[in-house]
């Protein structure tokens, strides 16, 4: 029993790292543009399918393939922003952008169905199937590699946001768009790049998700986006640290409940969200916390 619990915690932390990466993209987009990108879930699946095509059709290694999929997803992200999001500046943005990104999600899902069909597929590589014996557990290499990559990227994002000139203009836009405009920041450009970065991380998230989730199809995006939304709301919208903490917390909780009953694990996931919000409507780390950093 104790062994199972340790294993569940290790599992929760490793998978939580990957979810953190996807959630950071979502929360970053929220923080800068004040919108929730409902398409994030299906974009992760799109990233997974891109990796799938590269590895099965062109025999490119999953991790090497990221060098192609990350820029591709960045371009898709900026294109979505430029085509649809940008046009919704001063109207009822909250609900409108939600609907627009939902519509984008539907279209991408439909295209994925048309191209790949409804069958479940899985990403395969030698390190997906083989495991390493570590501290008494058997862990597939992909979990460890994925976790390391996720941590590296989250740290890189953090440095980009808090230690670079671009990051400063992003944070300025997060705090007060009008003031940022007044001091000469090109808010449109910052928004487009942020949206692109937020979407680009789904390439990595999608690859690791595709290799660890045990199969995905175009419909998997719904499950993913609802988990990601729960994570970013729990962490506090716009807070990167909160997204990290909430990912690890939620995934660990889920894998712990999974020992007792796999059927109820995901219910507990959402119930935890509701419970936390009853006590603390702003989540673990509200936006004020991230601003103070």
């Amino acid at each position: 029993m104790a062994r199972q619990i340790y294993e569940a915690i290790a599992d929760g932390i490793l998978v939580g790292g990957v979810y953190a990466l996807m959630a950071v993209g979502l929360t970053l987009i929220f923080g800068v543009l004040d919108i929730i990108n409902i398409a994030q879930g299906v974009l992760v699946i799109l990233g997974a399918y891109l990796s799938y095509s590269l590895s099965t059709k062109m025999h490119i290694d999953l991790f090497v393939g990221l060098l192609i999929t990350i820029p591709a997803m960045f371009v898709i992200g900026t294109a979505v922003h430029w085509l649809f999001i940008r046009r919704l500046r001063d109207r009822e943005r909250v609900s409108m952008t939600l609907l627009v990104t939902y519509a984008v999600a539907l279209i991408i899902e439909g295209i994925l169905y048309a191209v790949y069909g409804p069958n479940y597929v899985e990403l395969n590589a030698s390190y997906v199937t083989s495991s390493v014996h570590l501290l008494g557990f058997y862990l597939p290499y992909i979990y460890i590699y994925g976790f390391i990559l996720a941590v590296v990227l989250v740290v890189a994002l953090y440095l980009l946001l808090y230690r670079s000139r671009f990051g400063r203009s992003v944070r300025a836009t997060m705090q007060d768009e009008t003031a940022a405009r007044l001091v000469g920041i090109d808010v449109n450009r910052v928004s487009a790049i942020t949206f692109g970065i937020g979407v680009a991380v789904t390439a990595v998230g999608g690859m690791v998700y595709g290799a660890t989730s045990g199969g995905f199809n175009p419909n998997s995006g719904y499950d993913l986006i609802s988990r990601l939304l729960a994570i970013v709301i729990l962490g506090g919208l716009g807070s990167i640290g909160g997204a990290l903490a909430a990912s690890v917390f939620m995934l660990t909780l889920e894998s712990l409940v999974d020992i007792w009953s796999p059927n109820w694990a995901i219910v507990v996931f959402y119930a935890a969200l509701v419970l936390v919000l009853v006590i603390r409507p702003t989540g673990f780390l509200g936006r004020k916390a991230v601003r103070a950093q």
């Binding site: 009822e92 909250v94 627009v100 539907l106 609802s226 959402y270 509701v274 919000l277 009853v278």
Partner: protein, 351 residues
């Protein structure tokens, strides 16, 4: 004079619409066509009910499938466990509505504490909790769901009673929506939509008002869910609690005109038969999905306030062209009530 003629025109239009709706199954006797009618009326009721809460208060609910599915399950489980058969099953419809209302109270008490994005996400979370519960509990029948008792009605006119049931629900909901819009309650809801904190300062009790609208909306949605279940004779977790349902309802409301009385009706009447026709015409679902998404984008980008408000604005413009700048007070009032998504909305109109 113009006010009276306008009223008369409106009343005449209403009578004509009602007559057309009643005559519909007698004119088009083909069950394939009346099937479209049944679904369209169910969605008219649901979208109008959704609009009573979300349209008037500005809180976008993406969780109304919770009530729709719960109504369907309540209607089904009651018949199954109490061995109700034949036409008596319809006596369970009030129970379906009550189930929706009862679920809406704790749901609303939790979700309505937060606004805007967080509210939307909480409704999605509730939606998933309910879908998963329907899968996991034994009394909901797991993934096989619940089946309705068999009705021994002739196939040719089988749809008609369902059509009239759905029509009656839809008509009652529209009437209710209209009454609420004109009432003090409706005014309080719209005050919350424009600025909740200021509304509180003016003596509106936001929680009470929001929760009342939420519960009312939920009860009607659950009732429609019950009718839908008896018509379809079965419900499974993914069909009763369908994420596309939530989205379609929102799209219908936005297409017609979010927050108006007639808008949701128009949206449902256009989109639901269109969607059914598309799925029947092209067997692959993804085409319908892509088209739905594209339609969504077109509506949001080009008709962000819906067909009805944009249209009525256009008509007002045409009418007042070349006239003196004095506009009758009633016309201003009507313009204001017909175009609620206007100025107030940009200043935090949506919660």
């Amino acid at each position: 004079m113009s006010v009276n003629s306008g009223l008369a025109a409106r009343a005449g239009g209403l009578v004509a619409a009602a007559a057309a709706a009643i005559a519909f199954p007698y004119v088009f006797t083909n069950p394939v066509v009346t099937n479209y009618g049944v679904y369209a009326m169910i969605f008219v009721a649901v979208v109008s009910a959704w609009n009573i809460f979300s349209g008037y208060s500005g809180y976008i609910s993406l969780g109304h499938a919770v009530f729709f599915g719960s109504g369907a399950y309540a209607a089904g489980i009651a018949c199954r466990d109490w061995h109700i058969q034949g036409e008596e099953i319809f006596a369970m419809l009030p129970l379906a509505a009550a189930t929706g209302a009862v679920i809406a109270v704790p749901f609303g008490l939790v979700a309505l504490r937060v606004r805007r994005h967080t509210f939307i996400v909480i409704t999605i979370a509730f939606f998933f909790i309910f879908q998963l519960m329907a899968y996991n509990f034994s009394f909901t029948g797991g993934s096989t769901g619940v089946a309705a008792p068999f009705l021994t009605w002739p196939a040719q006119t089988y749809n008609n009673p369902f059509y009239f049931m759905a029509l009656a629900t839809a008509a009652a909901t529209i009437a209710l929506s209209w009454l609420i819009r004109r009432s003090r309650f409706g005014l309080q809801l719209r005050a919350i939509r424009d600025d909740e904190d200021r509304a509180r300062g003016l003596g509106v009790r936001p929680m009470r008002v929001k929760l009342s609208a939420f519960v009312l909306s939920a009860a009607i949605t659950a009732l429609a869910g019950g009718i839908w279940f008896y018509y379809l004779t079965q419900v499974q977790p993914p069909s009763g609690f369908d994420p596309l349902f939530d989205l379609t309802v929102v799209l219908m409301a936005f297409l017609g005109g979010f927050g108006s009385v007639a808008g949701p009706v128009l949206g449902a009447l256009v989109i639901e038969p269109g969607q059914l026709w598309l799925t029947a015409r092209y067997t692959n679902d993804y085409l319908a999905e892509i088209l739905l998404g594209a339609l969504f984008l077109v509506v949001v980008l080009f008709l962000p306030r819906g067909v009805i408000p944009t249209g009525s604005e256009l008509i007002t413009k045409l009418r007042t062209r070349g006239r003196p700048a004095v506009i009758p007070a009633t016309a201003i009032a009507r313009q204001e009530t017909d175009a609620p998504a206007g100025s107030g909305a940009s200043s935090g109109g949506l919660k």
